[in-house]
Amino acid sequence: MLKLILRRLAVLPLILLAVATVTFVLTEISPFDPVEAYVGAENNVSPQRKAEIAHAWGFDQPLPERFGRWIGNLAQGDMGNSVIAGGQPVAAEIASRAGASIALVGGALALVLVGGLVFGVLAAAFRGTFFDWLVRTMCYFNTAAPSFWVGLLALYLFSIELGWLPAGGSSDPRAIEAAGVDFEHLILPMVVLSLTGYAWFTLFVRNTLLEVLREDHVQFARAQGIGEVAVLLRYALPNALIPFVTLVGTHLAELIGGTILIEKIFGWPGLGLLTFNAAVNEDIPLIVGITLCGCVLVVLGNLLADVLYRVMDPRVREALR
């Protein structure tokens, strides 16, 4: 187990280097102009001044040189300075936004897990009934409907037309204390972010359960006269859950990626919104910084899932002993 963890962590720097390289190259070939983003369109800035601004920020240096200097700084723990965020250090900018995103992703992940588990088990228990059909139809709908569309729809319906939930932001702007994350503001973005994943997990739990229910040891339990509910929860579910755990790790990446659109739609001041702004403004240090942080999270998430998988599956656990 320790070997596994060490091996994965040893590869991490290589993954990060590869991701950073690809990100740098991608930003280089993107059509966006960092100077134009910096001074704003429809400005009165002369071409000569634009060239000077590009030089001051180092936009005019060739890619290998910029990349080399960036690696050098990173080795000393300096992720560079964001261009659009008032020239502030990338690390501080990311840290100041992380809380809002952790609340959003954490909440959505909880909904995905709990929702997927509850509805998946119920659908499997009542397989073939109207309830099963309803759950599956909703799941297909949620998987098919693009989340930005659902997000806009939810925003217009629940915030703008019905006025039940706040329209955007992470807390009441009038509040006296420092702005943070308010649960009422979190509900809509969290639910919309969780929809695709929840649908996927529900179907997954349902199908695995149905498969496990056909296996011999479950049939044996039934033959012993154990009740259907106990069979489902005590004998079938634990076995169905093992692959589920691995999927959580992979799904974390999807949730993190999903925050870009969701935070943009709901004006949620987290890393997703920051990513969006960094991307359209061609803010290379910020884009690379966020990408690397996301990358670390995904690798660690997968690692955690693999560790859990080994802890939970008795066969693997035995083998490791």
């Binding site: 009165n44 800035v45 634009k50 001051a56 965020a85 020239g87 897990l113 915030s159 649960f183």
Partner: protein, 535 residues
């Protein structure tokens, strides 16, 4: 076995969520006590509050942390702000001397001196600061502190618009000297002399400012102001209706909905902010000035205003707004589609169908681009295209980001937004002079690549003298020549629609520049507003 572990993980996540819910509850309780707070919704958050580096500081509303040497009065004439009297010019007009007040202190208690003024202007010119304002100060060579209360500006040419450039916020030299200004922490923690002091900057969220109790003109009446960013135009209206925000700029077509709400005043503020189609001189169809002139007759400007702006606008025929000292009515030609058709016929484009004209087998057709996120520009472009169709001109509409528009400069027209109610030289010189028509990295100054010696001559003449009446003659000539050249098809001047709670008293807007939302025009006297308690 596994259920237990998963269960515990679930409980941890749920506890985190409930913890957040607890915070939410206390927010609610406090908001009732916060009666002295004015919440303003902006379409986006200013990222940089330093006047030197922030790109939107000249015209946007965050100048409340700072003061300039001069400021605009309600009628947009200049008056002393940090200066103790109006500046004086030397006889060759190349030296401008400013006397400072001696009773002004920065938010940190240090007194303002001439050194701070010299530092601010020198820092803008310093290439390492990457200041977007450097272009604005192209006439400035150097700035010198003569003594504690005297500053001298040395110019490389007489600059009639220079007093307009003395309105940039002054920063404290002691806090920025020797630093890399473009990455300074100051950019998010501004210390100025202004009526409001920064209390909180939540990146991507809100900006909280509180009254400067020792402001040299007396403490502002409203003690706490929150700027929150709400990008969605419908969401801004929803937040107004819920009372979450007290003031916001909105798009004209949503004004009727807010007018039904008796808690708010809906102001239509006159602006210099024009929407104009730039017609590139290298486009195969638009290169002919006769075609460009004909298009202007085919535009029913009032119909665009009524149809897409809910009446919140006025027709625009040139770069200077009606009522400005430099305005000339020379280009004011009423809508006349018959004249447009006659001119197009004369230019060789003959009708060949219900909505087509051709010349030598080629169709009279061009592309019109607009930034897709801007619903006002999109609606104007749609209305324009349908009016062009009536005289047989085919306009293909394309929503494109500015980065793409920049690269397709010669391949189609674009709907731009320009207009300043201040000295016209600040904007018009770079927009029309042939000096800015050639370079490739130059799309947003002289986008159509106009190269017209008569226009150049008028521009060079107006900036070579100081006398307003003489300059007016040059601007009249400029407007005549622009109408003949017709590289810019002026459509409408918007009225900015601003919604403000009736609890707020003392709002008395200036004519606004192009900048959107809650810019200088409306909030110029923010420190004099009062806020009645909630009923």
């Amino acid at each position: 076995m596994s259920r237990g572990r998963l269960g515990r993980a679930g409980v941890v996540v749920l506890t985190l969520m409930l913890g957040a819910a607890g915070c939410g509850g206390s927010d609610k309780a406090d908001s009732a006590a916060a009666g002295g707070t004015l919440v303003i919704a902006l379409p986006s958050q200013p990222e940089d509050l330093n006047p030197i580096t922030g790109s939107d500081n000249v015209y946007e509303g965050n100048q409340k942390f700072f003061n300039g040497l001069l400021r605009y009065k309600k009628d947009l004439s200049a008056e002393p702000d940090l200066a103790s009297e109006m500046p004086t010019r030397s006889t060759d007009a190349k030296t401008v001397t400013v006397k400072l007040r001696d009773d002004v202190k920065f938010h940190d208690g240090t007194p303002l001196t001439a050194k701070d003024v010299a530092f601010t202007y020198s820092a803008i010119l310093d290439k390492d600061s990457a200041s977007p304002l450097a272009s604005l100060l192209d006439s400035l060579d150097s700035t010198k502190a003569i003594d504690d209360t005297t500053v001298q500006f040395n110019l490389n040419r007489p600059d009639p618009a220079f007093f307009d450039k003395l309105q940039i916020g002054i920063v404290p030299a002691a806090l920025l000297e020797g630093m890399d200004i473009k990455t300074a922490a100051f950019n998010r923690k501004p210390i100025g002399t202004g009526p409001y002091v920064l209390k909180e900057f939540q990146p991507g969220g809100r900006i909280v400012m509180v009254a400067n109790q020792s402001y040299f003109r007396g403490a502002p009446k409203i003690k706490r102001i929150v700027l929150t960013s709400v990008e969605d135009e419908n969401a801004r209206v929803a937040l107004l209706e819920k009372g979450t925000v007290d003031a916001a700029g909105i798009v004209p077509k949503l004004a009727p909905r807010v007018r039904r709400n008796s808690d708010y005043n809906v102001l239509e503020i006159r602006t210099a902010d024009a929407r104009v189609a730039a017609l590139p001189n290298r486009d195969p169809v638009l290169r002919d000035p006769a075609v460009r002139r004909a298009l202007s007759f085919a535009v029913d400007r009032q119909k665009i205003i009524d149809g897409t702006l809910a009446g919140a606008g006025e027709p625009a025929y040139g770069p200077v707004m009606k009522g400005h000292w430099a305005y000339s009515p020379v280009a004011e030609k009423p809508y006349d589609s018959a004249e447009a058709e006659r001119l197009l016929d004369a230019a060789g484009w003959k009708r060949t169908g219900a909505a087509t004209r051709t010349k030598a087998g080629k169709k009279l057709s061009f592309t019109l681009m607009y930034p897709p996120a801007d619903s006002v520009r999109k609606d104007i472009a749609l209305a324009f295209a349908s009016q062009m169709k009536q005289v047989g001109v085919d306009v293909k509409l394309e929503g494109r980001e500015f980065d793409v528009i920049e690269k397709r400069q010669d391949k189609g027209a674009t709907v731009f937004g320009y207009g300043t109610p201040y000295d016209p030289d600040i904007e018009l010189y770079t927009l029309f002079h042939s000096k800015f028509a050639t370079a490739d990295k130059d799309a947003f100054s002289n986008y159509p690549r106009t190269t017209n010696t008569a226009i150049d001559a008028a521009l060079d003449a107006e900036r070579s003298k100081l006398d307003v009446d003489e300059r007016k003659q040059d601007f009249v000539t400029l407007q005549e020549e622009l109408a003949k050249d017709a590289s810019w098809l002026w459509l409408v001047r918007l009225r900015h629609v601003v919604v403000i709670s009736k609890r707020v008293k003392g709002v008395d807007p200036q004519v606004e520049p192009h900048a959107h939302g809650f810019s200088r025009g409306t909030s110029w006297n923010l420190e004099d507003w009062t806020l009645e308690p909630k009923r």
